[in-house]
């Protein structure tokens, strides 16, 4: 068989549109996930017994249940439960956002808990305000530890946006699959987006590894 590049050239606006939807879904899910993670870490570390239990249950549930099932649930069940209309992009990004929140919360928690207790106590003993304690003492030490896994999770999230294809969201994989079905040039389209995903995700993954390595060397 021959690899027909012409068919890719002819359809690149559609593929580019798919890429835009992929980026949009990633951004929405990341924003939701960030907010959820901050709330969950606060409940997990700062709250009482019941808020800690709630956060634990949330993290366990959203890290154990398959994303595909959650996306289906959000798309087919949530509108019925809430009595509202929801597009596939909204429902899909929302469920990915809730999952992202659970994973990011674990990353944030690990980063915060890596800061020795003495640092918190010393900060308080010096009469630092809560705000100053967090922005000047805890986060500058915790953030370098959180950054590599955070960036690494971003690659997982981008890969997970392909699941939105299952509920008919026209993201990159969906567009390529449909173009493949129309032209019967699956090989060209799926290989092309494979290379596309690799070119986006691999550099991000390398960045995460590089940061982790420099952090380890600095810690030694």
């Amino acid at each position: 068989m021959n690899f027909n590049v012409g068919v890719l050239e002819a359809n690149y606006p559609a593929l580019l549109g798919g890429l835009m939807v992929t980026c949009l879904a990633t951004l929405i899910a990341l924003s939701i996930g960030f907010v959820v993670a901050v709330v969950m870490v606060t409940l997990r570390l700062g709250g009482g017994k019941w808020s800690r239990r709630f956060a634990d249950a949330y993290l366990t549930f959203f890290r154990t249940t398959p994303e595909m099932v959650l996306i289906f649930w959000a798309y087919f069940c949530l509108p019925a439960v809430l009595g509202i209309q929801m597009s596939g992009l909204t429902a899909g990004s929302l469920s990915l956002g809730l999952v992202t929140g659970a994973y990011l919360a674990e990353i944030f928690r690990a980063g915060i808990q890596s800061v020795p207790k003495g640092q918190f106590e010393a900060g308080r003993a010096l009469g630092l305000s809560r705000f100053a304690l967090w922005t000047k003492v805890v986060l500058p030490q915790g953030v370098p530890l959180m950054t590599p896994p955070f960036i690494n999770y971003l690659t997982e999230l981008i890969k997970n946006t392909t699941l939105l294809a299952a509920i008919g969201v026209a993201e990159l994989a969906y567009v390529a699959y449909n173009l493949g079905a129309q032209t019967f040039r699956y090989f060209e389209f799926i290989t092309a987006i494979g290379i596309g995903y690799f070119l986006i995700i691999f550099p991000i993954s390398l960045l995460s590894r590089r940061l982790e390595k420099t952090r380890r060397q600095a810690a030694m």
């Binding site: 249940t65 398959p66 099932v69 890969k159 299952a166 994989a173 390529a176 799926i190 995903y197």
Partner: protein, 225 residues
């Protein structure tokens, strides 16, 4: 409005189709189990090849692992099922495509776990084994792998959970896993809330059971050390 919704729920549909749903769950477990066993073996092979002295062996495997880790499984599954047959000239059944895609995907991830396990073993032991003129095969089977196995149990548990999660992605191919069965029943009963809630709970229970089992095995392995 809300009251009519709640009173319209009928979880009886889940009970009526319990046999079909349980068969779906069984197929999901079969799929995830094959992916995990095949992927673990493939991952061990990938890891062994990547520590080869010859770059011509090392380099292509490294590239394959990086590519599999940096691309989505959904895309890999579509590629295996729709694009690969065009290059090979014969078609694969959806089940074979699903297992193939899952095995390679899981293999790429577990090879990293094995690599870390192998790297954690004291270099002196390998040098000592070489100095004693132990054949390479025995260095691997008697020295490196037995020690690496103990180190990789906790990460393998989490890869078992990800494999179950990943297997749901393969429902886009026409296989009768739990996800697809729930979709099919919904197709003629129009009971998405009941069916997908039941599916979500079943998947959660499976994942939760695996993580408990992993903790148990981990504790058992700690004792003799």
């Amino acid at each position: 409005m809300a009251e009519t919704f709640w009173s319209s729920l009928d979880f009886g549909v889940v009970w009526r189709f319990r046999d079909a749903l349980l068969m779906g769950l069984g197929f999901t477990l079969f799929l995830a189990g094959s992916g995990l066993v095949g992927g673990t073996i493939l991952g061990a092979l990938f890891a062994v090849f990547q520590s080869s002295r010859f770059w011509i062996v090392r380099w292509p495997i490294r590239a394959l692992v990086e590519f599999l880790r940096a691309t989505p499984l959904l895309m890999q599954a579509i590629w295996v099922h729709f694009a690969l047959p065009l290059a090979l000239g014969f078609t694969l059944t959806p089940t074979v495509s699903a297992i193939l895609a899952l095995t390679f995907n899981v293999g790429a991830y577990t090879s990293e776990i094995f690599r870390a396990g192998i790297a954690a073993i004291d270099k002196g032991q390998i040098e000592a084994a070489r100095a004693l003129a132990l054949p390479t095969r025995l260095v691997w089977t008697k020295i490196i792998l037995p020690q690496a196995f103990r180190l990789i149990v906790p990460p393998l548990t989490s890869s078992a959970i990800s494999t179950v999660k990943a297997s749901t992605i393969l429902s886009i191919l026409a296989i009768n896993d739990l996800m697809r069965v729930a979709m099919r029943i919904n197709g003629f009963t129009y009971r998405p809330v009941e069916l997908y809630t039941a599916a979500a709970l079943l998947f959660f229970l499976v994942g939760f059971a695996i993580s408990r089992l992993g903790l148990f095995v981990e504790k058992r392995l700690e004792r003799p050390a």
